[in-house]
Each structure stands twice: as C-alpha cells, then as structure tokens.
C-alpha cells in the first residue's frame, strides 16, 4: 500500500526535479496502483467504454495475438528440432523445457507439436488434469491422455504398450501441475522417471515446467538426470514486448499518440521525442510486468485512452504497482505464497495438507492473501498467485529464502 511517507517523498521528488529544471516526460508520471485495488480483466474490459469496441476486443486476455518473432523462442525451437532429428536417428532423447510464467512454454510446445506433425509424426500433448500422489494415479492420467487402452494399470503394461505402439512425441505441459508436495509424490515422480528411461527410444518426451517448480521436482525426483537437455526459456525483453503490444495495436488501424503533458500538444510519430517517450514507456512496462505478455497487455489497456481524433488513441502513462512489504507478512502466509508460486495453484485441501493446518485455517490464510490482491481464486476454488503482482512477489520471496 502506498504509505503517506512514500507519497510525500514522490511529491517532494517531483518538486525537486521541477526546481532543477529536469525534463519530466509525460509517460513517466506514474499512477500508483494498489494490488488489492487492481481491477480484473473483465472489469477493465467494461471500464474502457470510451475505447472503440473492436480495440478492447483486441486486448482480451483469452485472445491470442498475432505472431511476433521472439529470438529466444526461435532458438529453442531450433534446439527442439535438432533433438527431434537426433531421436529419429536412433539416439534416446528426452528434453525439459523450463521457464518462468510468460516465457512462452505453452506456445513453444504448440509450435513444436505442429512441426512434429508436419513431418508425419504423432505428437500428443499431455495436460495434467489433477494432482497425482501415487504411481497408479499418474499412470491413469497418462493412459487417458495418450488414448491408450484403459485396462492398462501398471507401469510395465504402460511401457509395453508404448514400446509396441508407433513412435510418438509426448509433450507434457506444466508438469508441476501434477506434483504437489505431499506424501506419495516421490513414487509418482519415480514412475515418470522410469517410464521415460524405459521408453525414450520409442517416445520423445518433452517435459515443460515452471523454473521454480523444476528445481523442486529435480530435488524430489531427480528429473534432470534423465534429460538429454534442459532448455531454459525467458520472458520477452522490452523490445520484444513492445513488438507484441504494438503489433496487436496495429490491427486496430488506429494511430498511437503519446500525451505531451498538461497544456502541451500530444507527441506524434515519427519524432525523436515520440520514440523516446515510447521507449521509456515500454522499459517501465517491462519492469512492471516482468516481461509477461498477458500482464503487459493488461497494463497497456490501463495506459491508453480515447483521443480527440477518431483515428488515434492516446498513450498516457505507465501505471506503478504499490505492494505492501511482503517481508512483513507472517511466516506461514508467506510460505503459502511461496508454495502457490511453485505449484502454480492450489485448492484449500492441498494447502491444508502441505502446511499442515485445518481447512478453515487454510481458507482464512488464502482469503486474507486474496483480499490483499496477492492471490486470486478461480471458479474451481483453486488459488493462484495473482500474475499481475508475480514479478514483484517472486524477488521478495527469494530474498527471504522461501523460493530457491
């Protein structure tokens, strides 16, 4: 929350900058947003009535944007392709694709699956449907996802079936959504490791997971020991983020002006001032959203307004997120935040089991975190770290040793 002191300090700092004649670029006039007061994507959608309807639709969370070339993603796809060729050449190969939220794990896997299928091979994407706490539970989900005969119930049967079957590429998306820190998870992980080892000549396994979860899964089950290569993905840099946002904006056919400050005309392209203001904006936006494209689009929506011209929109300012001191949160809720960050989302029962507390206590902790804007709850009752504040929460938890 913005303290009175920090507000005074900011006001004082602005005044000092004004007194010494420092140029204040309009887009650097921050608007402080409190985590608890951030509108949802839906509220943002309805709250932007002054924007053209088709423009708002372009920035829907669910809507996938136009293809923008991300350097690292291209290089990762090349690595995956090379591994595919090596595997087709008879070399047992298994790959891990890890990265933070927003680093394009899903889109990289989808692009690779398309590539695999274009070569006439079979690619199956496995999306964890529920947490597993036993070998049997993992096998059941794999059998279902790989469309194998439902009678298969043991690891040996599953291995036999996969070895007998035609070659295939198996893409496991967000493996961390299978494994939660509770009894039985080691057996499930050991089963996956053994399955990979015994079938990797016949199946090319590509396992994707969040970076934070990967180090835990590795510590619990030694997953990296069976990987030929661990490919690390990163979130887009500021320039790539700019390309993602502006390419989507360009679909609207509207021009983009930048507010020039009080009593000043807007900055128009292609002047150097305009470019400088845009560069400054996207640098701030990148810091604000940690490079996460969906979060960037959310904050972009907050930054654009209708302008006097029907043919243009006005970029006003980059918001600034004000979070309370994460370090001052009590130990247990902070640990819950850390586990949510690693696991990618937990229901109350799992939180109660991990910590261990009663379900009522778990609910109270989670709801308190939700009210502070750090956590959100979906319709299925799963609590996840609010992605809008994630880039600011991870470093705080890491500094406190709760994430590693």
């Amino acid at each position: 929350m913005p303290s009175r002191k920090s507000r005074h300090f900011n006001a004082l700092w602005s005044r000092v900058r004004g007194l010494v004649g420092a140029e204040v670029t309009p887009v650097s006039e921050d608007v402080a947003l409190e985590a608890a007061a951030l509108p949802s994507y839906e509220e943002l959608q309805t709250g932007c009535a002054e924007l053209p309807a088709q423009y708002a639709d372009l920035f829907l969370r669910e809507r996938s944007g136009p293809e923008v070339s991300i350097k690292l993603q291209q290089s990762n796809l090349k690595t995956l392709d090379d591994a595919l060729l090596a595997w087709l050449g008879g070399m047992p190969t298994t790959l891990a694709l890890i990265g933070p939220s927003g680093s394009g794990l899903g889109s990289t896997l989808a692009a690779f699956a398309t590539d695999v299928e274009s070569r006439g091979l079979r690619a199956t994407t496995v999306v964890p449907q529920a947490r597993v706490d036993s070998a049997a539970a993992l096998i059941a989900q794999l059998v279902d996802a790989l469309s194998l005969p439902p009678a298969i119930a043991s690891l040996d049967e599953l291995v036999d079936e996969l070895v007998r079957d035609q070659q295939r590429v198996v893409l496991i998306e967000d493996a961390q959504r299978w494994f939660v820190r509770r009894m039985g998870v080691r057996a499930a992980l050991a089963t996956l490791v053994e399955l990979i080892l015994r079938t990797r000549r016949r199946c090319l396994w590509v396992v994707s997971a969040g970076s934070l979860a990967w180090s835990r899964l590795d510590a619990l089950g030694g997953l990296s020991s069976v990987m030929s290569e661990v490919i690390e993905c990163e979130t887009p840099d500021a320039d790539e983020l700019r390309a993602i946002v502006l390419t989507r904006h360009s679909l609207s056919g509207l021009e983009l002006h930048v507010a020039g400050g009080p009593d000043k005309p807007p900055l128009l392209p292609p002047t150097p001032e305009y470019e400088k203001a845009l560069a400054e904006y996207f640098s701030k936006l990148h810091t604000l959203c940690g490079g996460h494209p969906t979060t960037a689009i959310y904050y972009w929506r907050m930054s654009v307004e209708a302008s006097e011209s029907d043919q243009a929109l006005m970029l006003t300012r980059c918001p600034r997120l004000v979070l309370g001191d994460i370090g001052s949160i009590a130990t247990l809720p902070r640990l819950i935040l850390a586990e949510l960050s690693v696991h990618g989302g937990l229901v109350i029962d799992y939180v109660a089991d991990i910590f261990p507390v009663s379900t009522d206590e778990a609910r109270q902790y989670l709801e308190r975190l939700r009210r502070s804007g750090l956590v959100e709850r979906d319709d299925d009752g799963e609590y996840t770290l609010n992605p809008l504040v994630g880039p600011h929460v991870y470093p705080a938890l890491s500094r406190a040793h709760l994430l590693y």
């Binding site: 820190r181 509770r182 009894m183 039985g184 998870v185 080691r186 180090s215 835990r216 510590a219 619990l220 370090g327 130990t331 640990l335 850390a338 586990e339 991990i354 910590f355 261990p356 500094r399 406190a400 040793h401 709760l402 590693y404």
Partner: protein
C-alpha cells in the same frame, strides 16, 4: 610545570571536545547498527554478513575514539601517560581482570569469528540465535524467547557449538524411536518423504535417514532424519512439522519418542 599540564587535561575545552567525541562515536555506532538492522531485514539472505560487521565496526570506532581522545584531545605529557598506563595496568591486573578477560575474549571472537550475529549456537548451556555480540558478552535468544547473556570469556573457555556457521540453512535432526518390530526400509522411506513434504525443508540439500538398533529390554529402532531447514529461524518449526508428518504416516504416536537435536 607538570601540575599545570595535568590541570589542562581537565579544561572546559577538553571536556567539551571529549563530550563531542563521545556523542559522535555513539551516534556513528548507533546509526550503523540501525542501518545494518534495516538492510538485514530487507536482505535476509545476507543478514549474517551485514550484522556480523556491527561488532567489528563498533570495536574499530571505539578504538579510534580512544586514540583521538588520548593523542588528539588530551595530549598528556609522556610521564603522565606512563604513570596512568602503569596505574591502569595494576588496576586491570587486580580489580577488573574479569572484564579484561571478557574484552580480550571478545576481541578474539570478533576476529576469529567462531560465530556471528544470526547463528544458532549452543554456549554456556544455552541454545539459541545470536542476536548480539560485543566486547563483553554474546546475547542469545532462546526458543523460549528469553535473552541469555553469556560472557565472552565463558564462551571462549567452553566448547561452542555453531549449527550453521553463517549459513542461512542449517542441518536439523529429528530423532524418533519405534518400539517393537518394524519394517526398517519402509519407515526410512516414509520418514524421508515426510521430511521432503515439509515446506520448511530446503530441498536442494539431501535428506538422510540414519537407523540404529537401540534394543535393550525391548526391541527398539532409532531413526534420525537429517534435513536442512530453509532458514535457521524456522528450525524448531521444521522439527515439529517433520515429526508431525512422521507420526501421521509412519507409526502410532505412542510408539514414537521424539528428540530434536
């Protein structure tokens, strides 16, 4: 005249200078300590290094202040200095030898660094987190939230156990005994997994389970789970959590005896 020179030592100007020096030193030391506290709170990963620098800086500050006071402000005549030093030596030898012992032990500890602020240590029969150390004593906060002050000389004389030696992670042992016949392999596996499930356990370090036969009149097997805690301050929370998980999964509680070391 030597007497006049000695009287000059107690002049108003000198008194004011000494007072100013005292206040400046106190202020500097206090500001640095508070700054270190603040930075250590913000960067808990580095709190051992940051807080560990406080006693060193305090020692240097007071040594400097003493030197400035003697040679910069008072500037006593050589014969007076020798006389005072001799008297002081005698007094130290007779009256305040315990204090001197503590101060010397404190200086040795500051530079030898067998412990630093933030460490979990056992000294003088007490176990707790080092929350302060100076030239006279170290202060521990025990798990009862009591502050125990242990003279440096005592800490130096006795064996001093440091559980983490400046690291934020610490090996915690959870020992339990199962009475009667037991499937050792299964209990070992379950105990290890129970520890791995604890959110307080640092998973990047290995978890060990050591098994010993403790049969006397009745068959008994002692298991020791060794795992690293994510932060030394959570040592007891981790031990309790791991034990709770073990009792839930391994055996009936009445067959278990817990001993956290």
């Amino acid at each position: 005249m030597p007497d006049e020179k000695i009287l000059e030592l107690f002049s108003v100007a000198n008194a004011l200078s000494l007072s100013a020096l005292l206040v400046a030193t106190l202020l500097s030391v206090t500001i640095y300590r508070r700054l270190a506290d603040f930075v250590a709170r913000k960067l808990p990963k580095w709190r051992f290094q940051i807080l560990g620098s406080v006693p060193i800086l305090r020692l240097i500050a007071w040594l400097l202040a003493t030197l400035i006071a003697v040679f910069g402000v008072l500037k006593p005549p050589q014969e007076s200095l020798i006389a005072v030093a001799a008297s002081l030596g005698l007094a130290l030898g007779l009256a305040i030898q315990d204090i001197v012992k503590n101060v010397l032990a404190g200086i040795v500890m500051i530079f030898q660094r067998p412990l630093t602020v933030g460490d979990m240590v056992s000294a003088g029969g007490h176990y707790g987190e080092v929350v302060g150390m100076d030239l006279m004593a170290i202060r521990l906060r025990t798990f009862d939230d009591s502050i125990v002050t242990i003279p440096n000389a005592l800490a130096c004389q006795e064996a001093l156990l440091n559980s983490n030696s400046g690291s934020v992670h610490e090996l915690v042992k959870v020992e339990f005994t199962v009475l009667g016949d037991v499937d050792v392999a299964q209990v070992t596996r379950l105990a290890s997994e129970a520890a791995a499930c604890s959110p307080y356990v640092f998973l990047k370090s290995p978890i060990f389970v050591i098994v010993e036969d403790r049969t006397e009149r009745r068959r008994a097997t002692r298991f020791t789970v060794k795992a690293y805690v994510i932060d030394v301050r959570l040592e007891r929370a981790m031990a309790t959590d791991v034990f709770t998980r073990i009792t839930r999964t391994v055996a009936l509680p009445d067959t278990l005896v817990m001993d956290v070391a």
